[in-house]
C-alpha cells in the first residue's frame, strides 16, 4: 500500500454546475394518494355519498321529523304511503232495525260503507233453506280463493247484515253464501259485492282527537285531515319513517360499533402474536383457529341466551358482545400475517439501518401499512354485521320490541306481506341499500388502499 497523503483542497466543495430538476409533482402521502384513487372510482364515490346520506338520515332525520316512533295513530293502522288522510264527520252511531222493505234490489249496501258501519241487504233466495253465511275478504274471490273471514250466519228470514268489526278505510269484498238445511254452503248460490269503505268519525271521537272543540256544534260532512305519515304506518299505527330512523340507529350502531371493536381486539391480538412470534404466536393462533371454527350464527343465538336480557332492555349489548367474541379471529389472523410480512420488508431493514427506533418503525411503517387492510376489513365487516343483526332480529333473537331495528321491522312486516307490503319493503330496502353501499365502498377502498389487491374484482 502506497502512502498517499490527501491535500486539504481535495475536500473543497464543488460548484453546482447543472440545474437540478425540480420535483415535478407535489409529494403525496399514502392517504392523499388513496383519496385520489377513491375519488376516481365513481361507484365507490357514490357509495360514500350514500353512506353519508344514511348517516344524515339516522342522526339528523329524527331532529327534523320529530315523531315519537312508539306513538300509535289508531285512526291510521297499516296505511300505505300516500293513502287518503281525510276523515268525514258523521253523527254518532245509531242502532239499525231493518224491516222487510229492504229486499228486492239484489245484494247492495243500504248506506255508503264507512268505518262506522257497513250495512248490507240481499234478495231472499229460495234455495237458502238454512239461512245465509256472510263473509268478508280483502281480495277478489278467485276460482280457488276462500271467501275470507266468516262474520255471521243469519236466519232464513234475515236478509240483512251490519258489519262493525274493525273496519279499515279500504276495499272489502262481501260474500253471501246460501246454506242448505244441514248448514252446508251452496257454492253455486254465492253473491259477492265490493265496497270501498271511507273513513268517518263521530263527534265524540273528533273531540278526543282535538279536531273539534267540545263546545263547538258539529257540522256533519265536514272533512278533516289526519296527521301525515310520509312512509305510511305499521300494523300498530306507528309512523314508519320515524321507526326507520330510530331503527337505523340500532342497525348502524351495531353495524359500525361491532366491527370497530372486534377489529380493535383482532389488531391487538394479531400484532401481539406477530411481534412475539415463536411458541406464543403458535398457541395464540391455534386458539384463534378454534374460535373461527365455531359455527357463527349458532353461537350468536347461543350467546343471546347466555347474556339473557332483562325486561325493558333492548338486547343490543348482548348482540354486540356476542359478535365481538366470535368475530375477532379473522382480523387477528390478517394483522398477524401483515406484521410478519412487514417485519421482513426491505424498507424496514433500511429504516433500521438508518438508525430508526422501534417506536418510529411501528408508528411510521407498521401501522400505516396495516391501516389500509384494517380499514378494508372494517368496511366489509359493516354489511355483515348489519346482516347478522337483521337476521337475528328477524328470527326473534335480536333486539327486543318495542325497540325498532330494520331486522325486527322486516320480521313484523313479513306477516302482512300480502296485504300491506310497504311494511316489509321499506326496511328491507334500507338494509339492502346500506349493505350495497358498504360493499361497493369496500371494493373501492380495497382498490385504493391495497396495492396487492388492486385490479382484482
Amino acid at each position: 500500500m502506497t502512502d498517499q497523503s490527501l491535500a486539504p483542497d481535495a475536500f473543497k466543495r464543488i460548484e453546482q454546475t447543472a440545474q437540478i430538476h425540480g420535483i415535478s409533482r407535489p409529494s403525496l402521502s399514502y392517504w392523499q394518494d388513496a383519496w385520489i384513487r377513491l375519488k376516481a372510482n365513481r361507484r365507490a364515490l357514490y357509495s360514500l355519498y350514500l353512506v353519508v346520506g344514511l348517516l344524515l338520515f339516522t342522526f339528523l332525520g329524527p331532529l327534523i321529523w320529530q315523531i315519537d316512533p312508539s306513538v300509535q295513530d289508531v285512526d291510521q293502522i297499516s296505511q300505505p304511503p300516500f293513502a287518503s288522510r281525510t276523515v268525514q264527520l258523521v253523527p254518532e252511531y245509531q242502532p239499525w232495525y231493518p224491516s222487510d222493505e229492504l229486499s228486492g234490489t239484489g245484494l247492495n249496501f243500504v248506506a255508503p260503507p264507512t268505518t262506522q258501519y257497513v250495512r248490507l241487504t240481499w234478495d231472499k233466495n229460495p234455495a237458502a233453506t238454512g239461512g245465509y253465511r256472510v263473509y268478508r275478504n280483502l281480495f277478489p274471490i278467485g276460482v280457488e280463493r276462500a271467501y275470507g273471514l266468516p262474520l255471521k250466519e243469519t236466519g232464513v228470514a234475515e236478509n240483512f247484515f251490519e258489519d262493525r268489526l274493525d273496519l279499515k278505510p279500504r276495499n272489502y269484498f262481501y260474500s253471501i253464501v246460501a246454506l242448505d238445511d244441514d248448514g252446508n254452503e251452496l257454492h253455486d248460490q254465492v253473491e259477492t259485492i265490493e265496497g270501498e269503505v271511507i273513513r268517518v268519525m263521530a263527534p265524540r271521537e273528533a273531540i278526543s282527537r282535538g279536531m273539534l272543540d267540545a263546545d263547538e256544534a258539529p257540522v256533519f260532512g265536514t272533512q278533516y285531515t289526519l296527521p301525515l305519515h310520509p312512509l305510511g304506518t305499521d300494523y300498530l299505527g306507528r309512523d314508519m319513517l320515524a321507526r326507520l330512523m330510530h331503527g337505523a340507529r340500532v342497525s348502524l350502531f351495531i353495524g359500525f360499533f361491532a366491527p370497530f371493536i372486534f377489529v380493535l381486539v383482532g389488531v391487538a391480538y394479531g400484532s401481539v402474536a406477530g411481534f412475539l412470534g415463536g411458541m406464543t404466536d403458535q398457541a395464540l393462533m391455534r386458539f384463534a383457529d378454534f374460535v373461527v371454527a365455531l359455527p357463527f350464527l349458532l353461537f350468536m343465538i347461543l350467546f343471546k341466551v347466555v347474556f339473557a336480557i332483562g325486561p325493558g332492555e333492548s338486547g343490543i349489548m348482548p348482540m354486540l358482545l356476542a359478535m365481538v367474541l366470535l368475530l375477532w379471529p379473522a382480523t387477528a389472523r390478517l394483522v398477524r400475517g401483515q406484521i410478519l410480512q412487514i417485519r421482513e420488508e426491505g424498507y424496514i431493514s433500511a429504516s433500521r439501518l438508518l438508525g430508526a427506533k422501534t417506536n418510529y418503525l411501528v408508528l411510521r411503517h407498521m401501522i400505516p401499512n396495516t391501516m389500509g387492510v384494517i380499514l378494508v376489513t372494517i368496511t366489509f365487516a359493516v354489511p355483515s354485521a348489519i346482516f347478522t343483526e337483521a337476521f337475528l332480529s328477524f328470527i326473534g333473537m335480536g333486539v327486543a320490541p318495542p325497540t325498532p331495528s330494520w331486522g325486527s321491522m322486516c320480521n313484523e312486516g313479513i306477516k302482512t306481506m300480502l296485504t300491506t307490503p310497504h311494511e316489509l319493503i321499506f326496511p328491507a330496502l334500507l338494509i339492502s341499500v346500506t349493505v350495497l353501499a358498504f360493499n361497493l365502498l369496500g371494493d373501492g377502498l380495497r382498490d385504493a388502499l391495497d396495492a396487492r389487491m388492486r385490479n382484482r374484482e
Binding site: 276460482v143 371454527a293 365455531l294 347461543l302 347466555v306 338494509i431 339492502s432
Partner: protein, 310 residues
C-alpha cells in the same frame, strides 16, 4: 395424502371437542337453570328432576358425563318434550335440512361457476354488466327478503297460471324443494360468481393459456381443459365454509317456507330454552360443519396436489 387426511381429522376432532366444551359452559353460564321454569316445583320434585337429568352432580362431573355421552353419540333427552330424545329429533329433522342444503349448494355451485365463467369471457360487455349488477344485488339483499320475495312471486305465478304449479310451503315431494333451495342458494351463488369471475380473469391472462392458443388448441378445448378446470379451484375451497352459511341461512328459509328442518327446530328450542336440544343441535351442527370443511379440504388436496405439500 393419507397423512394429510389423518392430520385434518384429528384437528377436526379437537375442534368438535372445543365446540362441545364452549357449548357446555355457555349453557351453564345462563342465568337460572333449566328447571326454574314457569311452574314452581316442590323441593322433592326438584330433587327428583335434578337426579333424573344429573344436575345434582358437581359441574366437572356433569361435564365428564356430557363428553362421554357425546362420544357415544347420545345427546340426552329434551327438557320441554317429555321423553323425546335429542337424537330422535336430529334423526327426524336433520335429513330435511341436509337435503335442502345440498340442493342449494348444487344450485349455487353450478350457477356460480357458469355465470362467473360467462362474465369473465364477456368482460366489460353487456352480459358481464348485467350479471355483475345482479350479483351485487344478490349479495346485498338479506336472505329473508329473498325468501319472502320468492314466496310472493310463487303466489303470483300460481295465481296467473290459475293452478298451483309449485307448492308455496311445506315439505314432502321434489316440487316442494325447488323454490326453497333456489332461494337458499342465491346469496352463495352471487358470491361464487364473483369469485369465479376473478379467478377466471386471472387464468385467461396466464401463460399456459397463451401457450395453448399459440399451439392452436381449439377455443372450446382451451375453455374446458385449461381455463375452467384451473379457475374452479378457488371456488372449491370456499364451498366448505359456504356450507356453513347455507345451513344457517336455512333457518330463515325453513321458517318462511314452513319446512320441518333442524334449523327451525333449533330456533324453536332456543325460544323455549330447551337446554339439551340447544346443546345437542349446536354440537351436532358444529361437528357436521367442521367435517364438511375438512371433507372439502381433502377433496381439494386431491384435486390440487400443491395444497398437500404445504
Amino acid at each position: 395424502m393419507l397423512k394429510y387426511a389423518f392430520k385434518r381429522i384429528v384437528q377436526g376432532l379437537i375442534t368438535v371437542w372445543f365446540i362441545a366444551t364452549a357449548t357446555f359452559f355457555a349453557m351453564h353460564a345462563v342465568p337460572g337453570d333449566p328447571l326454574s321454569g314457569d311452574k314452581a316445583l316442590s323441593d322433592k320434585t326438584r330433587a327428583n328432576l335434578e337426579a333424573k337429568y344429573g344436575l345434582d352432580k358437581p359441574l366437572m362431573t356433569q361435564y365428564g358425563i356430557y363428553l362421554a355421552n357425546i362420544a357415544k353419540g347420545d345427546f340426552g333427552i329434551s327438557f320441554t318434550q317429555e321423553n323425546r330424545k335429542v337424537n330422535d329429533i336430529i334423526r327426524e329433522h336433520f335429513p330435511v335440512s341436509a337435503t335442502l342444503g345440498i340442493l342449494a349448494i348444487l344450485f349455487a355451485g353450478a350457477g356460480g361457476i357458469l355465470w362467473g365463467a360467462l362474465t369473465a369471457l364477456y368482460r366489460n360487455r353487456l352480459p358481464d354488466t348485467i350479471i355483475m349488477f345482479l350479483v351485487i344485488l344478490g349479495i346485498s339483499v338479506p336472505s329473508f327478503v329473498v325468501a319472502a320475495i320468492g314466496q310472493l312471486s310463487l303466489v303470483n305465478i300460481n295465481d296467473l297460471a290459475g293452478v298451483s304449479l309449485l307448492p308455496i310451503g311445506g315439505w314432502g315431494t321434489v316440487w316442494h324443494m325447488i323454490v326453497p333451495s333456489m332461494v337458499l342458494g342465491l346469496g352463495t351463488m352471487a358470491y361464487l360468481t364473483r369469485l369465479m369471475r376473478s379467478s377466471m380473469l386471472e387464468i385467461i391472462s396466464s401463460d399456459f393459456v397463451r401457450t395453448a392458443k399459440a399451439k392452436g388448441v381449439p377455443p372450446t378445448q382451451i375453455f374446458t381443459r385449461h381455463q375452467l378446470r384451473n379457475a374452479i379451484l378457488p371456488v372449491i375451497t370456499v364451498l366448505g365454509p359456504s356450507i356453513a352459511g347455507i345451513t344457517t341461512g336455512g333457518f330463515v328459509v325453513e321458517i318462511i317456507f314452513a319446512i320441518p328442518g333442524l334449523g327451525r327446530y333449533f330456533v324453536q328450542a332456543v325460544q323455549q330454552l330447551d337446554y339439551t336440544v340447544i346443546m345437542g343441535t349446536t354440537v351436532f351442527f358444529g361437528a357436521f360443519l367442521v367435517f364438511m370443511v375438512i371433507l372439502v379440504d381433502i377433496i381439494y388436496g386431491y384435486v390440487d396436489p400443491r395444497v398437500r405439500l404445504e
